[in-house]
Amino acid sequence: MTFTLYKEARLNCLYVNIAAALLRLPVLKESLPFLFNQAGLYYQDTQDEDEFVLSPYYRELDDYIGELFGARVCRKGYAGGESYMGALKNVLGTGRSAIIEADIFYLPHSGFYNRSHFPHALEVIGYKDGVFEICDHYYVYHGTLTDAEFRFIFESSLQSPFYKLLNLWNLERHVTKGAGVPDAAFHSGVIRDNYRNMSGQALYDCPAGSRAGLEAFEPICRQITRLKTMDQDASKFKAASYLYEGFREIANSRFQHHNFLKAIGENELAESYLEADQSWMVAANLLMRAATANQFQHFEERILNRMQRVREKEADHLELLRQWLERAEPEGCGRSFMTQYSPRSGQ
């Protein structure tokens, strides 16, 4: 392994590990902005009214990993700590790194050790003489854990309510291609898909019945206003955490999309997406403050005011993307795109 930590604070704990594993394949660091290109939005209710899906990603990341790098992410789940350890050692024995998951409560290097439970992922890059070398890129930690320590972490994590299985991920390259930077057709495709999704289309892997793009703001704000009416703390904080995690991931996606836009020379549009990133993050911060103080009524107006700013910014983007696509796909293509994907028709 030619490097230890990959420092990127704006990828979630799974994506940052996938990025690090890709860099070890290797792929060019300059190509990563083209991978994390999605800046969409969808909301979906579930059977449980306290659970819902809120995400900026309308398409599986694996599609892009294949298209850009000729690689794929192999994932397998394990129900036992020993089998998990064994699989981990097998992957490491091939000279590749592996991505593992664990309850952060049991990870000594984190600020949440013995304090809070939630799912986390990190990369393991080596194993020698009973000692694993770990890279927790998300928390900027490079260190070691022994067989016994890892066994305890895995067995304990499997007792956590959010793990029925522990997943193990590793990358395989099946085609020697695409270590470079993609072409203009790829750029147009990315922007066109983001425009379509934000115009209200549930694309690719969006679940059936989801509300896409700007249409997602209505159910999101409905969930926000619902929080003050909920008596059961467990339900209330569960719904709040879905919103909070969703907002942060949406913010991350806008940040990554700003990197994509900078990479293709669209600096002004990139700057606007950076402002959107920041605004989503402020909404998340306000929500966290409301939850910490258990004062959702008190914070509601502030959160909704910020959501209004966020929506206005996202609506501005829709128009800027439409103009970009008109310039990039003029005449025939542009007209059919405009007719087919008008934000007013949402068709």
């Binding site: 420092k7 604070a9 704006r10 600020g111 949440f112 304090r115 900027v140 930690y141 942060r248 913010a251 940040f255 402002e275 990133d277 920041q278 993050m281 402020v282 998340a284 911060n285 306000l286 966290m288 403050r289 910490t292 502030r302 005011n305 910020r306």
Partner: protein
């Protein structure tokens, strides 16, 4: 009339957050929503200091040492200002938002303030690191392997303005530790 080139604003009445702690006060830290704070060692409070020839004074009262921007206003004696030096940091991400320059409630200018994250290693290009700490504090004690930072952002006005009030957006991610106005 005070004609000193710099005015260090007294932030005492605006302090609403604890961003620095020592080993007796970890539990008060709230620079981030998880209770992270900067180690207070080597940070001067109530004592003027200079950075790049610009004077600053940081204030602290009852554990509070910074102002989280929540739509409040800071008022001061009228002065003709050409630059505003802001010392602070953001939580969550590198953050920017607007500061409104007013004279008696009349809005004269809207300026974008940019403060990088308190642990950022990829700050805004225009921010300068004014202070680095060895480690960060959590509710449980020090995280020795991390580095904390306070940043300087300089807002250059397109023309000097006679102002007596600064108003901020409701953006609790932004923590302002000190403001110096330059005539």
């Amino acid at each position: 009339m005070n004609t000193q080139p710099f005015i260090c604003l007294d932030m005492t009445s605006c302090l609403n957050n604890c961003g620095t702690t020592d080993n007796s006060s970890y539990q008060h830290g709230y620079l981030s929503s998880s209770g992270v704070s900067l180690p207070r060692e080597n940070i001067l409070f109530h004592t003027p200091f200079e950075f790049n020839d610009i004077p600053f004074v940081l204030f602290r009262q009852n554990y509070r040492d910074n102002m989280v921007t929540e739509g409040q206003a800071i008022q001061f004696p009228e002065a003709r200002i050409s630059k505003i030096h802001v010392l602070g940091a953001s939580s969550d991400v590198n953050m920017s938002d607007y500061m409104y320059l007013k004279h008696n409630e009349t809005l004269l200018s809207k300026e974008k303030m940019m403060l990088s994250h308190f642990a950022s290693e990829a700050p805004f290009a225009r921010n300068v690191c004014i202070l680095e700490t060895a480690g960060l504090n959590t509710l449980d004690g020090p995280l020795a392997h991390r580095t904390g930072r306070l940043w300087l952002d300089i807002l250059h006005l397109t023309e000097p303005l006679e102002i007596n009030q600064l108003t901020f957006e409701d953006n609790p991610c932004m923590h302002i530790f000190g403001i110096t106005l330059e005539r």
